[in-house]
């Protein structure tokens, strides 16, 4: 029984041979293949850029979700310090949903990063092979005799064709990955935009924040009120004393203008 690997290898070889057989003049095959190689190089570089863009988008989203999670954590603390366990519980429940999302994003981020590295290496390998192929192609064309060219071309052509097949598959895999990731990223963007996860900039207020603000303003009102009450309750006594001393001090001053005039000099 032929193993799986052998069957797969045969498929790659058959593919290269088929392309080679199509050409009437082997030199045309070389030029055509070289054009294809350059196109593929462009494509793999674009692939690397696309994956990097997706990766950065994930990073940004994870950052936003993290900010939101930190905010909920802070709200839970404030709520608890004010004895509102129900509100703290609500904030922590929302936080745990976010934590799950963040962990999910991080897993995807790792996988995208691996994909980016793989594609970068693939593009380096392809570049090296394309350069080698160009040199070989010119040599073959310069010393061309139909008989020897066929075999010389065959070797180089199968090698590069295999590499191109490999790189092509890598690009497809990366595209599939970024596509499914973009769909999920889009869903998170919508969620962030809808306010369901609250506004990470903190400009719009969520219900927990409103409740905390209401509590804070209530307690501020209470403490202001208590302060005012204290001031008013203590006021009559002090006013009476101050009033008494003022009258005793100011009463004699008109009678003794000399003393009154000297006072500023003495104090200064």
């Amino acid at each position: 029984m032929a193993g799986l690997v052998k069957r797969m290898s045969l498929i790659f070889k058959a593919k290269a041979n088929k392309a080679l057989d199509r050409a009437e003049d082997p030199r045309e095959t070389l030029d055509y293949s070289y054009t294809k190689q350059l196109e593929l190089l462009q494509k793999v570089r674009r692939g690397v850029a696309d994956v990097a863009t997706s990766r950065k988008r994930l990073e940004l989203q994870a950052q936003q979700l993290q900010q939101q999670s930190d905010k909920l954590d802070g709200q839970a603390r404030v709520a608890l310090s004010q004895g509102r366990e129900d509100l703290a519980r609500e904030a922590l429940t929302r936080k745990s949903a976010l934590t799950q999302q963040i962990a999910d994003l991080q897993t995807q981020h790792v996988s995208l990063q691996a994909e980016e590295e793989k594609l970068t290496l693939a593009s380096q390998r392809l570049q090296a092979k394309v350069d080698a192929f160009r040199t070989k192609k010119e040599t073959i064309k310069a010393t061309y005799t139909a008989a020897q060219a066929q075999t010389q071309i065959g070797e180089a052509f199968s090698g590069i064709s295999e590499e191109m097949g490999d790189v092509g598959l890598a690009i497809q895999r990366a595209e599939d990955k970024t596509q499914s990731m973009q769909a999920r990223a889009g869903a998170i963007d919508e969620l962030l935009a809808s306010g369901a996860l609250d506004d990470p900039t903190g400009t719009a207020k969520d219900d927990i924040q409103s409740e905390l603000d209401r509590m804070a303003s209530t307690s501020q009102v209470e403490s202001d009120l208590a302060k005012l009450k204290g001031e008013i309750a203590g006021a009559p006594a002090t006013q009476a004393i101050e009033g008494a001393s003022t009258t005793t001090q100011t009463a004699p001053s008109p009678a003794t203008p000399a003393e009154a005039n000297q006072q500023p000099e003495a104090s200064s």
Binding site: M1, G3, S9, F12, K15, K129, K136, I160
Partner: protein, 92 residues
């Protein structure tokens, strides 16, 4: 013998390693036939580890083809089956 791991590049592997490789290859085929995904991953991981360890990396500018082509790491059974079933799936 030169062996390619898809997504990783080419490795030069000694003949005695290829014998071991053939045994694992049979396991891999059996797993695919039996639709045994865990068995498939196990055999594939074993196969790739063997080539990476026993093999020496071929220079990037080497232009020759490989004797054998191995599926990429983390390939699913379905992906490999698609590769085998349809030549058109290999781009380039």
């Amino acid at each position: 013998m030169i062996i390619r791991i898809l997504g990783e590049g080419q490795f030069e592997v000694a003949d005695h390693t290829v014998e071991v490789l053939n045994t694992i290859d049979s396991k891999l085929q059996a797993a695919v036939d039996a639709d045994d995904e865990p068995g498939f991953h196990h055999a594939l991981d074993e196969l790739l580890a063997l080539v990476r360890e026993a093999g020496a990396r071929v220079a990037d500018d080497y232009l020759g083809p490989s004797e054998l082509v191995l599926p990429a790491a983390e390939s699913t059974l379905e992906e490999v089956r698609a590769l085998l079933g349809d030549e058109g799936l290999i781009p380039g």
